[in-house]
């Protein structure tokens, strides 16, 4: 078997284990390339049957419109159930403080909405597109990652995961986060997108965008949420997105990549990691992700 076949087979095996082991699973869908791959893998795992889970999106209100449009079209095209819950509603209901500052982030706030939607539907397993190559804390997380009733990850209490035997046994109220593409790298994802001819939101490819340069030299797009300062210089730049997160905390990369082939070539050349190039939220500290996961984040 070719290496992409092996990765694909492993992911499908894991998706089918979720279907077999849980009563009420869900697939967390963001409109980004990793969760788009998950949907593609789910088609291969379960068609001609329906998905044994709905697609769930936690909409921060700061998403790129292209990603939202893609999400709605995909759910309609596939005829699968899509559940959307809004961080803005959670902020109102729980009387939370919205993100502040120049780039107001709802990254921490989306954990509340995620935990609420898990409670609302009593999901016992949530499938996500996280990969171990993304970040150091993720490199240590299991494929079946048990969370307590507060959604918390305890790295010291992880179950040993042997061979391809996945223990998804939990008590009521707990849930398992499942990461079928744990062993894929960013380049693997793109090679797979190419091989399978998977359609993506347009922002992954080069386009002209009004941006400002941050103090770290990253290109942030100008939008209604970013608080411009008088010294900010708005420039038109040819960019693409390497990852699709919130508009307020995802940076664009300068690129002329027009096709999946261009992107693969670009990635082979680049010496900056995906999160390093694009995420502002991990810059806070070396253990930023570890801490967020302990708080219930993905």
């Amino acid at each position: 078997m070719d290496y992409l076949d092996q990765l694909e087979a492993e992911a499908i095996y894991i998706l089918r284990e979720v279907a077999g082991q849980f009563e009420r699973p869900a697939l967390l869908f963001s409109g980004g390339k990793d969760s788009i791959c998950l949907v593609h893998l789910a088609l291969k795992a379960f068609r001609p049957g329906k998905f044994p889970f709905p697609l769930v999106h936690v909409d921060t209100g700061h998403n790129f419109p292209e990603a939202i449009e893609y999400r709605d079209n995909l759910a309609e095209k596939l005829g699968e159930k899509l559940i959307v819950r809004y961080v803005a509603d959670t902020i109102q209901e729980k009387n939370l403080q919205d993100g502040k500052g120049k780039f107001p982030s709802r990254n921490a706030l989306q954990t509340y909405t995620l935990l609420d939607v898990i409670n609302e539907f009593e999901f016992d397993a949530c499938i996500g597109g996280a990969r171990r190559d993304e970040e150091k804390a993720r490199a240590k997380e299991r494929i079946f990652s048990v969370r307590d009733e507060f959604g918390q990850w305890d790295p010291k209490k992880q179950r040993p995961e042997l061979w391809n035997i996945y223990n998804g046994k939990i008590d009521k109220g707990e849930n398992v986060r499942v990461f079928p593409i744990s062993n894929w790298t960013e380049l693997d994802v793109w090679n797979y997108i190419k091989r399978e001819n998977i359609e993506l939101p347009s922002i992954y490819f080069t386009h002209e965008r009004e941006c400002i340069k941050t103090e770290h030299g990253q290109w942030m797009n100008v939008n209604e949420f970013v608080q411009l300062e008088p010294t900010d210089k708005i420039e038109k730049v040819r960019v693409r997105y390497r990852t699709v997160g919130d508009m307020t905390c995802t940076a664009a990369v300068e690129s002329e990549a027009n096709s999946v082939d261009d992107i693969i070539n670009e990635l082979k050349e680049t010496r900056i990691s995906e999160r390093g190039a694009t995420r502002m939220d991990d810059r806070i500290s070396e253990a930023a992700m570890e801490d967020r996961k302990k708080g219930g984040y993905f």
Binding site: A45, F46, G49, L162, G276
Partner: protein, 414 residues
């Protein structure tokens, strides 16, 4: 392109994380922003080297603080020839279970030996565990050669000693490379200080070594993970058994036996991604349809009728105990073999394996953390299995504590 999964084992101070760090660093698999962070961290840990390569693999805060690897960390790198998945596992005896876990998914073990100390108790233990996990190929990296002045006779002496010790462990192949992870000799770049060594560097070795999947048999085995039933108007009678081919090949028309139901039927159709195929091979995810309507649930195993498999309520196995709490035989557990789960009870501990000399010893009657014991297990429903030596997929299982839901042991069937 292929995938090679390997794991690394060594003492706390053998420079294991440094070796992997060096491999990633010199093969240019580390991004510049991660290097920047590392340089910052190295300064705070007070290492005198420019950059502490071990920090590349120690992911958790507690690990960085203590300077040791606690949990299994997975690292990835790709060359033109291969994709590599590294399970970096802790070496200390108290983390034996983590090592066993890391090793269970791999095809090659890299065992580090400190050239100054030669074969130690740890080397023996790591090798014995690799043997129990059934790894066919061991690579011994004799590391820290810089600290023995790159002397060939030190290297040769360790090789002789290791060969002698490992004879009884049943590896198909054992290879040796003299390295210095600290200076990078023979990791990615060929050593200029050990010109007496003509073999490949670690990097060359990894790119070219034959990938052995253990003793996986060619006997066909399939296990049902999930039943696909669309129940739509046009697919009203569709009933397909989704799962992966565990080993061997299944063909359309094959007469098969169904376990544990003990029934015989034949394969009417094999589908892969909604296309009909005539045959499917080991590892492929498929949906299988059967000629007869049989009540089949998750965990059921299909085997060609001319093939033998065991299906019994009693199995003998070697278990590695992974729970912090000690355990007495008689208490109830769940046994999970891939997608099959049944209640089980450990009837007896037949003996304990001394993982320092591979001798059987008498057990004290309990299973303790990191123990390897030969046990007799009784299952509520019959278990359909091969012995682990002939088939890793059908010969392995985990034990789950019904009360805590934790995975408390890993087992290989004798």
């Amino acid at each position: 392109m292929e995938i090679l999964r390997f794991f690394t084992a060594g003492n706390v101070d053998d420079g294991k994380s440094t070796l992997i760090g060096r491999l990633l660093y010199d093969s240019k698999s580390v991004s510049t922003d991660i290097l920047e962070t590392l340089t910052r961290q190295s300064k705070t840990t007070g290492e005198d080297t420019e950059i502490d390569l071990a920090l590349l693999t120690d992911g958790l805060r507690a690990e960085r603080e203590q300077g040791i690897t606690i949990d299994v960390a997975y690292k990835y790198f790709t060359t033109e020839k291969r994709k590599f998945i590294i399970a970096d596992t802790p070496g200390h005896v108290q983390y034996t279970r983590n090592m066993f876990t890391g090793a269970s998914n791999t095809e090659l073990a890299i065992i580090l030996v400190d050239a100054r100390h030669g074969i130690t108790e740890q080397t023996r233990r790591h090798s014995i565990i690799s043997s129990i996990v059934g790894l066919p190929h061991i690579l011994v990296c004799i590391n820290k050669m810089d600290l023995v002045d790159y002397k060939e006779d030190v290297y040769n002496q360790i090789i002789e000693e290791y060969k002698h010790f490992s004879k009884k462990l049943g590896f198909n192949k054992v290879s040796f490379i003299p390295t210095s992870a600290f200076t990078g000799e023979n990791v990615v770049n060929k050593s200029t200080k050990m010109t007496w060594y003509q073999g490949p560097t670690l990097f060359e070795f990894l790119e070219t070594v034959e990938i052995e999947k253990g003793q996986d048999s060619t006997d066909a085995r399939f296990q049902v993970q999930y039943v696909v039933r669309p129940q739509t108007d046009d697919l009203h009678d569709y009933r397909g058994y989704a799962g992966s081919i565990l080993s061997g090949t299944f063909k359309k028309g094959d007469k098969i036996h169904i376990y544990p139901a003990d029934l015989t039927t034949s394969i009417s159709k094999i589908e892969k991604f909604e296309k009909e195929v005539n045959e499917a091979h080991s590892g492929e995810p498929v949906i299988i349809h059967l000629e007869d309507e049989i009540d089949i649930s998750r965990g059921t195993i299909f085997v060609p009728v001319q093939n033998q498999i065991q299906s019994e309520n009693t199995v003998e196995a070697v278990v590695c105990w992974m729970d912090n709490k000690s355990f007495q035989p008689g208490q109830k557990l769940l046994l999970q073999q891939n997608s099959f789960r049944t209640k089980a009870v450990i009837k007896a501990i037949d003996s304990k394996i001394n993982i320092h000399n591979y001798q059987d010893e008498e057990s004290d009657g309990s299973l303790h953390l990191n123990d390897f014991c030969k046990v007799t297990i009784k299952t509520a429903e019959p278990l359909t299995f091969d012995n682990y030596k002939s088939n890793r997929k059908t010969g392995s299982f985990i034990l789950i504590n019904e009360n805590t839901n934790n995975t408390v042991a890993a087992g290989v069937i004798e």
